[in-house]
């Protein structure tokens, strides 16, 4: 098992947001987490990534058999956890190339490898750029600075391709994307699917799941996963709306 979350409670500023989340993710699987706004989807992603503004009050999270909650943010990243951000932040003056080179070499150092020589790095980058159909010189620009919504999300997928994570969590990657960008982002993900990695795709809408076909769909509601099923659950949700879940809970 890659990731196992047991009865996770977490919150911010004393306010509990996750109220007992259970989730198991195996290698080779794609999980979709759906749910209305404000039910804790992004909080769950942040807690897995280790953002310290969120406080874990109880529960266990193990990743590859290790206690994830004891690991620093960068350790988790180097051990293969990737978070595709909903709102990627701008870092003025730092080119994507430079940013990725630092990240890739940190990863290599963690694995006991020498830094990637410049030429090899450029070749790797060109290869991965094709994957997300980045044809422009986007990688020479500063990280996310002045990027359109689509460019920001493509950049997240590009970084994921560069870092080849074992567990990728995509936090509302589809939000703010037009249909072409959505297709490109989804194709990127599909090309990166392998038997030894896993994806957790967080989304508000069903439409992303037309492109990224999940093995499991979970509905997060008021801090708990209240319903799990196959890909057909997403369609059912689309049809009946979240009120269906609300009514069931009431």
């Amino acid at each position: 098992m890659l990731l196992s979350i047991k009865d996770l409670h977490a919150g911010i500023n004393g306010k509990e947001i996750l109220k007992g989340v259970n989730l198991e993710v195996n290698k080779g699987e794609v999980h979709a987490i759906m749910g209305p706004n404000g039910t804790g989807k992004s909080t769950l992603a942040s807690v897995i990534a280790g953002r310290d503004v969120f406080e874990v009050t109880s529960g266990d999270v193990s990743y590859q058999g290790k206690n994830l909650l004891k690991m620093s943010v960068e350790e988790r990243a180097r051990e293969g956890i990737f978070l595709g951000f909903q709102y990627p932040v701008e870092i003025p003056g730092v080119s994507i190339t430079n940013f990725m080179r630092t990240a890739v070499n940190e990863l290599r150092k963690h694995r006991g490898l020498d830094p990637l020589p410049g030429g090899d790095f450029i070749r790797l980058m060109e290869e991965k750029k094709k994957l997300v159909e980045i044809t422009s010189n986007l990688t020479n620009r500063s990280v996310n600075e002045g990027f359109s919504g689509g460019e920001k999300k493509k950049n997240e997928i590009f970084q994921m391709a560069m870092l080849e994570p074992l567990l990728a969590i995509l936090d509302e990657t589809d939000s703010g994307l037009d249909i072409d960008a959505l297709r490109i982002v989804a194709n990127g993900v599909n090309r990166l699917r392998r038997p030894d990695n896993a994806f957790v795709v967080i989304t508000h809408y069903q439409r992303l799941l037309d492109y990224i076909v999940p093995d499991f769909v979970h509905v997060l509601f008021e801090g708990r996963i209240v319903k799990s099923g196959g890909k057909e659950l997403a369609l059912e949700l689309e049809e009946k709306g979240y009120d269906w879940i609300k009514n069931e809970q009431d």
């Binding site: 990534a49 280790g50 953002r51 310290d52 503004v53 620093s72 943010v73 960068e74 990243a77 180097r78 990737f82 978070l83 951000f85 990627p88 932040v89 870092i91 003025p92 003056g93 730092v94 430079n98 940013f99 990725m100 630092t102 990240a103 940190e106 990863l107 963690h110 500063s142 970084q159 870092l163």
Partner: protein
């Protein structure tokens, strides 16, 4: 969470100086203290012509009438000018013909700093005039330069070989009456570099000098003079590091640049002198007067500086834009950490018509430091159709540091345009988390973000300097996290 972030920033920004070591080279010292005798001693040691001794003595008697300025946003402990040794030279055994003859201790020092003369000589195409304490030890590439008629030597050598040039230009841009520290330097300056590019010559290599303060309790007073004759071009690099010491070391340099018609001078500095320890003990006092004059039309002077060292920095590389259509530029990154204080900026004096100036200043403050930008843009009545653009940004790391901006603008005609922009920002929690999520630790993330912030200035540096400067920015903010 806020306090956690601060804690991390505090740790990261409390790095210790990495270049603290003392080289054991036999040193010849002047008697401690400042008097007419000291000045005569220095002048005699250097076998100077009469005019130079006169200049020194006039400067000294002027200095005696002055008081140390207090207008800067700096807290300066009183300086005991009688407790300073004004001249120290490595004892010379014989003249050096090749690098093999250079004191091995000295070469080792350079190697520790990553500036091996041999490597530079072979690889970089950089002519190096290395100044340890007060005497130039070695000049390379002099043959190549001589072929073009370029003079690049120590100031002392220029005094002996080209006294007419020294007499003509010395003090013409920074007169000894200019300010307290300029007067002091003019009285006691020991050595420095001299550079003359003849008419129409484009200097084929970057000229570079590494200054280094080394002997205990020795103030260093360099004097640098760069003259670019009509249509000439030169790029000059000055880099500094100093070993760790407890005593405050005084440093008061003068740099003068003259650009004639159609000439261009690029002057780049990376300053990494000992900033003092985490508690503010020790460190260099850096009081520098740097000024260039665009004397002829269409001339250009460009200052680029990366200031990461010194306990106190007081420095305003300036341009007098006398020639019509002349251009002045100032690009600066100043980092202060722990208890460092910097009051730095520039003066752009527009005197000629259609003159242009650009000021880009990036201040970075961390720890308990104070970082001030002070700039003057003055456009005279006759400088019609002139333009200035100034951008002053401050980046704060942590809660206990200060950033200040003191822009002075004076425009005396109606056809000129002056623009000033200023911002203050912090490294955001979101930026740090984003980097960490990609496997980059806090320390490296800060290095990346800070380098990104300063990129506009760093890209103005010559290539070999840019790499060093980038490392330096990261190192000076480095600490115990990692």
């Amino acid at each position: 969470m806020e306090s956690d972030a601060n804690h991390i920033l505090d740790q990261v920004t409390q790095g210790e100086y990495k270049y603290g070591f003392v080289t054991d080279i036999e040193t010849e010292l002047a008697p401690r203290g400042l008097s007419e005798e000291t000045i005569r001693y220095i002048s005699a040691k250097k076998n100077e012509p009469e005019f130079l001794l006169d200049f020194r003595l006039k400067a000294f008697s002027h200095w005696l009438t002055l008081k140390q300025p207090t207008w800067a946003h700096l807290k300066i402990d009183p300086i005991d000018f009688q407790d300073i040794i004004y001249y120290a030279a490595p004892k010379k055994k014989k003249d050096l013909e090749s690098l093999d003859q250079v004191d091995p201790e000295l070469l080792a020092t350079f190697n520790k700093l990553g500036i091996s003369l041999e490597e530079q000589k072979k690889l970089a195409g950089v002519a190096v005039d290395a100044v340890i304490d007060s005497v130039s030890v070695k000049t390379t590439f002099s043959d190549t330069l001589a072929k073009h008629g370029i003079i690049f030597c120590s100031f002392s050598e220029a005094v002996q070989k080209h006294p007419e040039l020294v007499k003509q230009y010395m003090g013409s841009v920074v007169p000894y009456t200019d300010n307290y520290f300029a007067a002091l330097n003019s009285a006691v300056f020991s050595d420095g570099s001299f550079c003359y590019i003849p008419k129409g010559v484009r200097c084929p290599v970057e000229l570079s000098t590494y200054f280094r303060i080394n002997a205990a309790n020795t103030g260093q007073f360099e004097r640098t003079m760069i003259v670019a004759d009509e249509g000439a071009y030169v790029s000059y690099m000055e880099g500094c590091t100093a070993p760790q010491r407890d005593e405050n070391q005084l440093h008061a340099a003068i740099v003068e640049i003259v650009a004639m018609k159609d000439a261009e001078v690029k002057y780049s500095t990376v300053q990494n002198w000992y900033p003092g320890d985490k508690n503010g003990k020790g460190g260099i006092y850096n009081f520098v007067t740097k000024r260039g004059i665009c004397k002829g039309s269409n001339s250009k002077i460009s200052w680029t500086q990366v200031e990461t060292g010194s306990a106190i920095t007081w420095k305003y590389p300036s341009c007098i834009l006398l020639g019509d259509h002349s251009v002045g530029e100032f690009y600066s990154v100043a980092v202060t950490n722990n208890h460092q204080q910097a009051d730095t900026g520039t003066k752009m004096m527009h005197l000629g018509r259609n003159t242009r100036s650009t000021i880009i200043s990036k201040g970075i403050s961390a720890g308990k430091s104070n970082n001030s930008y002070r700039g003057l843009v003055r456009i005279s009545k006759n400088a019609v159709n002139s333009r200035n653009y100034s951008q002053c940004d401050s980046l704060l790391l942590g809660e206990h540091c200060g950033a200040h901006t003191f822009p002075y603008i004076q425009v005396d005609n109606k056809s000129s345009v002056v623009e000033h922009e200023a911002t203050t920002s912090k490294i955001s929690e979101d930026q740090l988390f984003y980097c960490q999520q990609r496997g980059i630790d806090t320390e490296q993330a800060i290095g990346l973000i800070v380098n990104g912030y300063a990129r506009e200035v760093l890209k103005k540096l010559p290539m070999e300097f840019a790499v060093e400067a980038q490392k330096l920015l990261a190192i000076s903010l480095e600490g115990s996290v990692g």
